[in-house]
Amino acid sequence: MSRRVVLTGAGTVNALAHDVPGTLAALVQGRSGIGPLDFRDVDRLTIRIGAQVRGWPGLPGMTPREAALWDPFTRYALAAADEAVAMSGLEGADLAQAGVILGTAAGGIATWEDNYRAVFAEGKDRVPPLVVPRLMHNAAPAHVSIRHGLRGLAFSVSSACASASHALGLAFREVREGRVPMMLAGGSEAMLLFGGVKAWEGLRVLSPDACRPFDVQRNGMVMGEGAAVFVLEDADHAAARGAAPLAEIAGFGMTADAGDIVAPSAEGAAAAMRAALADAGMAAAEVGYVNAHGTGTLANDRAEAAALRQVLGDGVAVSSTKGAHGHAIGATGALELLACIAALRDGTIPPTAGCLTPDPDCGLDIVTGAARRAEVAAALSNSFAFGGLNAVLALRAA
């Protein structure tokens, strides 16, 4: 018997807010977390805007030992996991059966940067003892596992901008196939620092002024950071303990373009959307909302719009929330799942912050300006990564 998988907890830290209620409110208001970047050597960058986490007090009660051990990307993941577990109401023996899969693209890049700076730029001949366990990509899921006593599987997934969606999709399969009754999954990224932005700058796809997905004036993406983590749970298990689901994950599709390392492919994106629909047993006509990958680059918008028209037609409501939380790279698919929850649970489709004049060439119903009220029974969340790696989640209202 195939199990149904529901989301019973969610947590986040991002540029819009430091928790789920604040983030949902900001998404629905179409607020943008993008602003001037503020970190060491920012004056040596050409691109100086981003969706940076500001004013976050950090993890309560963090000890000096933990501070030495936790890179910012791990801290964001831990804070998001704490909120998700608290919301789910799970504890003790239940959590011991659970696993965790988290996506990240750059892992502990701040730790790499700080210590390279120390040895190469400042001429130091030693680095702190915990550099390796601090910078590794799997530090985030490992510490989430340790903190909550999760003894099932735990590992990290890295597929650039699709990392979090791949992590969520794999976790979804673990629960649906009955290997574990619940999973934590999502993504975290902390790449807003000199080296992280400098590297992206080199690719010349960052906008100097604004993120405008699907807008005629779009001129590139804007980086973000943070984490979002969810509790995925067997629907029967959730019902038995009276947990209220936020939404259901109904299917997952992933494909590889086997084409260009950076240029997106409409065919690969369309194939991933079709795979997600087939996996969910969902008809295209059921889909009432798509949270697009929508990076604000011309190449993405054209390919994604063509794929959406091919698979779903031109009538479905589409928005990208990257103008709000920025492109949080390996965390972005998880942040965008929150936008899907706003649509599925609350009947409120978040608008495309930053899109003022939708590009008629896209031929889509882009939600702009204010949030749109709509009964949304099913939604897709698209993530398309460099490498031609595509991951699409299909969701239903719980």
Partner: protein, 86 residues
Amino acid sequence: MDDLEARVIGILAAQALIEPATVRLTDDPAGIGLDSLGMVEAIFAIEEAFGISVPFNANEPGASDFDISTVGAVVEGVRRLVAAKA
């Protein structure tokens, strides 16, 4: 052909893996086999070679302040940026 033109053509040709002698000023980037990523790499090599900063946005090259429609346009653009630096 002056030195600056020869150097720019040399950089574009090296990125396109072709002989500089086969490159004409009227060629467009695609015509000599440079896709958008190849152009981004060529612009970087030009910046390094001439010590300049080229205002080029790969999202929409046509809308950039720097004209890359032809090899000749790139040469003249570099010439202006080098002159402005002097």
